[in-house]
């Protein structure tokens, strides 16, 4: 098995002088600063020689004190080994520019666009450096830079001025205040690029083609995002995706709240999987702090995360069923009914239905209530029987098969190349699960299988989710048998200020690999929190999948991705 130090020595021997500063945190984590000219070669080397075939995202960091910016490329492997290499590339702050990895990795595109619009780091060689999350007027203010004065000094939301356009629509402008002009937060020079609508309008080639908006308000979308399809007849020729309709700037806000307060914001990133997000953030901070979590707390976390996974899969599949069967279809309501049971279980522990704020540094908020195990033992077998019924329902329905089979198929190679995550990737047959790859908490002690599909189509994605629920039930039952008594919080005192350091922590969110990259500069607030969201990764793959399908298929494919735009927009 490859370890982090082996990777480091391999890079060092292949490219002498390329690595300027390196840190091997453990067998699984490698931090290395790479010469910006050699990053492409190093990445090629990693991919070809060392099986780093999983480009897991990148993070931009503004080191204002050192007057430089940093782009951290996060590289991992789909199961060949478990090393996560964090390759830092430095660039001067005055005119930041690094080499784009889009030539090597298909999915690097969105990550780099995001860094560009948020931090203003130029990516040489990126084919379409357009804004992704922000609305056009905001581009050019580089909101995630540390010297961005629009936040928190001058908040922007209060002064929208409605402008009716001649064709009957309302646009809003946010005229700058005197204070903002003085502070210089208003961008004077904006980069020139066509707007989203202009770009897609260019694609219309004949009179029989039209562009249809599926979103931002549409029965298909689980949250506002814009999926535009260029159709001829009903055949989708090209699809365009515009996100950012609920971009809240969580990463920026988290830099301006204390460590403890930030837990609250992780809840709201993906509201149906908030416990995983809590865990991811708290785990990263615990890693920096060097905290040990008591065993009972670990078990409680595992139980709740698996319960959370069950309810997330249920509502995701339920929503999906309404998409392909209409709201009149009864079984989707059965899913919601069953989900209410799980929600009640979670609520009896955490006290909230969706946003739990339950995981704390070095423990959990409160203990399991009396009678929780009994209630679980009553509900879980029931859940299992229900899920088996659902699996049977899907298996025997010819219309379901006609609608879903071989629709939106992803081959394992494509899935890896495009960087899909979670059930979408596993449906293609790639057994990639963070609970096995990067085990945390007590997962190594537990017995469970990684569920995989075979065809990678929409039916498989649903099937994988359903069988994952069964697996989660199995995990919870094991945990309930094994859970020890003891404290639920670490006895060590949790300091208000976290020592300087950085950590990358990965958990298996219901939607796949979620990673958080937390940097502390020793203050009472995080210096930077970078969220690598699973749906953000999967979302990118949507547009190529839709080409050549029908509109009805497009809806089914988008639904089977189990979308959570809130998490992808952050």
């Amino acid at each position: 098995m490859t370890t982090a130090s082996e990777v480091l020595s391999s890079i060092q021997s292949a490219f002498p002088g390329a690595v300027s500063d390196a840190r091997v945190e453990s067998d699984r984590r490698l931090w290395a600063t790479i010469d910006s000219n050699k990053i492409l070669d190093v990445c090629k080397h990693l991919t070809n020689k060392l099986n780093f075939d999983h480009y897991s995202g990148s993070a931009g960091i503004d080191w204002i004190a050192r007057n430089e910016m940093e782009v951290v490329e996060i590289m991992a492997s789909h199961g060949a080994h478990q090393v996560v290499a964090m390759l830092k590339v430095k660039t001067p702050r005055a005119n930041p520019s690094v080499k784009s990895l889009t030539g090597l990795y298909w999915n690097a595109s969105w990550y780099e666009r995001e860094i560009w619009e948020m931090l203003g780091i130029n990516f040489e060689g990126h084919p379409e450096l357009y804004p992704l999350l922000l609305s056009d007027p905001l581009v050019g203010v580089w909101p995630w830079r540390k010297d961005f004065k629009g936040y928190p000094d001058y908040t922007t939301g209060e002064r929208a001025v409605a402008i009716p356009t001649p064709d009957g629509y309302t646009e809003y402008s946010f005229p700058p205040t005197q204070a903002e002009i003085e502070a210089g937060t208003v961008p004077t020079e904006r980069p020139k690029y066509p707007t989203f609508l202009e770009r897609e309008t260019r694609e219309i080639k004949s009179d029989s083609e039209m562009i249809m908006h599926l979103g931002p308000q549409h029965a298909m979308v689980p949250g506002p995002f814009l999926l535009d399809v260029l159709v001829e007849g009903e055949r989708v020729k090209k699809a365009f995706l515009d996100i950012g309709y609920i971009h809240k700037g969580i990463e920026k806000i988290m830099e301006n709240r204390t460590w403890l307060q930030d837990i609250v914001y992780t809840d709201r990133m993906c509201y149906v999987a908030s416990l995983s997000n809590n865990e991811c953030y708290c785990g990263a901070v615990e890693k920096i702090l060097g905290l040990e979590v008591p065993e009972r707390a670990q078990y409680i976390r595992v139980i709740l995360e698996e319960l959370s996974r069950i309810q997330s899969h249920l509502i995701g599949t339920g929503e999906f069923l309404t998409l392909i069967a209409g709201v009149g279809f009864a079984p989707w309501q059965y899913m919601i009914m069953d989900r209410e049971r799980i929600i009640s279980l979670i609520e009896s522990v955490t006290g909230a239905r969706l946003t739990h704020t339950f995981v704390r540094f070095g423990g959990v908020r409160n203990d399991l209530p009396d009678g929780f195990a009994e209630q679980c033992k009553k509900d879980l077998p029931y859940m299992r029987s229900r899920i088996e019924e659902f699996i049977e329902l899907f298996a025997q329905d010819p219309i379901y098969h006609a609608r879903m089979e071989n629709v939106g198929s992803i081959s394992p190679e494509t899935g890896k190349r495009m960087g899909c995550a979670g059930p979408v990737l596993r449906a293609t047959g790639v057994a990639y699960d963070m609970r096995k790859e990067d085990p945390i908490l007590v997962y190594p002690d537990l017995d469970f299988k990684v569920i995989t599909g075979t065809r990678g189509d929409s039916a498989d994605r649903i099937d994988v989710r359903m069988r994952e629920i069964l697996e989660s039930i199995h995990i919870i039952e094991q945990c309930l048998d094994r859970i020890p008594s003891g404290p639920i919080k670490t006895e060590a005192k949790i300091p208000k200020k976290v020592p300087a350091g950085e950590a990358y922590y990965r958990v298996e969110d219901p939607r796949g690999e979620m990673g958080m990259y937390v940097i502390s500069d020793g203050g009472d607030k995080p210096y930077r929190v970078k969220v690598r969201g699973p749906f953000y990764a999967t979302f990118q793959t949507l547009t190529p999948l839709l080409e050549g399908t029908y509109i009805a298929d497009a809806v089914a494919i988008a639904g089977s991705m189990d979308g959570c735009p809130s998490e992808s927009d952050r």
């Binding site: 009864a330 522990v349 006290g351 025997q396």
Partner: protein, 198 residues
């Protein structure tokens, strides 16, 4: 093969249709039983609140503001400042409850709240306080506080005098010692009076 297809699609809804309706929660008539740890609307124990403002500081959303309220315990809460929560901003995360040093703030099982106006959902201590003193008790406690303050002031005076006598120095330090004590007494008095008048 063919004969088993599609059967479940029909039998399942039929099976459910024959069942008694049990999953629907009959909200306006019956509120469902909420768990003990439910994070609902805050409950303030005004008798123990010390008005430290930790809750206001820890709130990620700064929805808590400390306001005056007369039915507290002037012994513990000299400024008589109690949290007022803007439920239009509170996100029920429970951090304020966790951080409260005297555990006077709790989150109850009551969750229902609706306002016709924005100002309807800003709730002051008057709404939040489940435990509070009556006006008479407050008056008693005030008197108590006054007495204690006066005693303290007297003690300080005597201490200062003693100190002065011990050191045998000039009047200056003694005056300095006395002045703040007086101020404190005034402050403790002034706030409740204001509340009492209102």
């Amino acid at each position: 093969m063919l004969k088993r297809k599609m059967i479940k699609n029909f039998t399942w809804p039929l099976k459910i249709a024959t069942r008694e309706i049990e999953v629907t929660r009959l909200y306006p008539e019956v509120m469902m039983e909420l768990p003990a740890v439910e994070r609902g609307i805050h409950e303030l124990d005004a008798t123990t609140c010390i008005g430290c403002g930790t809750c206001a500081r820890v709130c990620p959303n700064s929805c808590i503001e400390m306001v005056n309220f007369k039915f507290g315990n002037p012994l513990k809460n000299k400024k008589m400042q109690f949290p007022q929560i803007d439920f239009g901003r509170c996100m029920f995360c429970g951090l304020c409850v966790d951080e409260c040093p005297v555990e006077c703030l709790k989150m109850g099982k009551k969750v229902i709240m609706a306002g016709w106006e924005r100002k309807d959902i800003i709730k002051g201590p008057d709404f939040l306080a489940t435990k509070r003193f009556s006006a008479k008790e407050v008056a008693d406690l005030e008197a108590e506080a006054k007495r204690i303050a006066a005693e303290k002031a007297a003690a300080k005076k005597t201490a200062a005098k003693e100190g002065a006598a011990k050191e045998g120095a000039a009047k200056k330090p003694a005056k300095e010692g006395a002045a703040p004590a007086k101020k404190k007494a005034n402050g403790a008095e002034a706030k409740p009076k204001e509340g009492g008048a209102a």
